[in-house]
């Protein structure tokens, strides 16, 4: 009976230690957040992402208008290849996901995106190699 109580108390103690440790681990973050808050920088990361997104749209707008019409087909092929950077999501899913089904989804996505990465860049290269200037 006493033993049982002792075990229970020990278990409780262990849990408490664990909780303290977790709290300690997180506290630097919390401190950082507070400092951040004091400095007036409480901006949701979403806003930063949105800013990058919006600016990238503008960059894309100007860069794409400067693409010569003769290269519009390679442009489509290469944009296709780079949009397969979605492979990073697939890699994370295959590499560290804990549920089997997520790994499965990730694996299929990985195969599809790799088809696109290799296919897209290589076919672009093949096309671009054909564009030649007049021989003088």
């Amino acid at each position: 009976m006493a033993n049982e109580l002792l075990d229970k108390a020990l278990a409780d103690l262990e849990r408490a230690v664990e909780a303290v440790r977790t709290a300690a681990e997180y506290s630097p973050d919390a401190a950082g957040a507070v400092a951040h808050g004091v400095s007036g920088g409480v901006i949701d990361p979403f806003v930063f992402r949105l800013a990058i997104f919006v600016l990238s749209i503008f960059v894309g707008y100007y860069v794409v208008w400067s693409v010569t019409p003769a290269l519009h087909t390679p442009l489509m092929a290469v944009t296709n290849a780079i949009s397969s950077v979605i492979v990073v999501g697939a890699l994370l899913a295959v590499g560290i996901s804990l549920s089997g089904i997520a790994t499965g989804f990730g694996f299929v996505a990985l195969v599809l995106a790799s088809v696109n990465i290799f296919g897209g860049f290589l076919v672009t290269q093949r096309m671009l190699a054909m564009y030649k200037k007049k021989e003088k």
Binding site: Y61, P69, I82, S83, V85, F105, L112, V115, L128, Y131
Partner: protein, 465 residues
Amino acid sequence: MSQNLAAFLYLVSGVLFIMALRGLSHPTTSRRGNMLGMTGMGIAIVTTLILAAPSIGGLLLIVVGLALGGGAGAYIARSIPMTSMPQLVAGFHSLVGLAAVLVAAAALYSPAAFGIGEVGSIHGQALVEMALGVAIGAITFTGSIIAFLKLDGRMSGKPIMLPSRHVINAALLALIVFFIVGLALTESHFNFWAIVLLSLVLGVLIIIPIGGADMPVVVSMLNSYSGWAAAGIGFTLGNLALIITGALVGSSGAILSYIMCKGMNRSFISVILGGFGGETAAVVDDGIQRTVKQGSADDAAFLMANASKVIIVPGYGMAVAQAQHALRELADKLKENGVEVKYAIHPVAGRMPGHMNVLLAEANVPYDEVFELEDINSEFAQADVAYVIGANDVTNPAARDDKSSPIFGMPILDVDKAKTCLFVKRSLGSGYAGIDNTLFYKDGTMMLLGDAKKMTEDIVKAMNH
């Protein structure tokens, strides 16, 4: 690797992607640009691998996946004929769309792997971003498959018009929005798959009513969609490379769609609503007996050999007949005789932006002999011969002169201003838009009836005599 360093490296790969697109401003810089793009992709993949630090089993699975997909991709890239480029690009778009859906599904089932919370406690905002990415990705997937089938000729290019399809599409869209809200509030997997299913259906319904020759717009639009889908997933995962790339690809596709629509003088909305070119518009018979002057390969050879300037106008028919190599031979022959040869490309010639340029490049036509509509249109008046091969509607003077024509206002190549217009065509039928081409009946026009490749080869032969 720290999250900050990883984010920085993702930014680097995003910048490399921007430089890859920037390189395409000129053929000489484009090859280096493509290399930069590949480098960017390499950086993104390696960064993710270090960040994820997969177990041996996981790493093995990744290597197998990369090898499988990469092998298939490399094989396709090497073996595909250049004339099949539009369907290849459409097919590739569908893969990006499906990959986006699957990555989102993986994130939903195993959010911890992506650092976006636990099952049941994913942030509502992340769920909305995910749902948007999934919906657009699924639409891209099925839409691109339909576009692929139409471009590949496995499905009729004719528009398929469902009754009250606008109502159906609007209802589907409303349902998708409803389930997106539901997903954000409950994180229920049922809602997720409902969004996927409805979007897959919507993707099919959006593309089937759009006719074959409007495909340049569709392919560009799906290009754009695949970008927005990637960006949506990028927001969910907080990945800079994905957000930047998604925005780049999204705006690139949107600009190309805009250029294509302008090339046809049609609004984007009217293309998307579809139906154009379906009804075989009855040519109004005004009772006037119109005569067509027909010629032979010998006549054409004589005219061209004695010309001082020839402008070649290729169109989709050239791609179908695979006539680009024969055409280059013809041009070489003419140049030997001291004839000035130029090529004029209409923005919507072919089935995707830049389609004709790639085919001509494949046939070793130097790119500095190939001109866009606005750069060459004024030169037709000084040309002795305009050789129209496989193009039709883009040369129809009715677009310029006849206010009642359905294609009125569409910019055209002024081939009728050349002294003689040689028009290669299979038969005297109307073009895609179902409109009679008034060019056929003009005095300066000579029709060369026959297969584009065969006719061009015959002309070369006739010149050798």
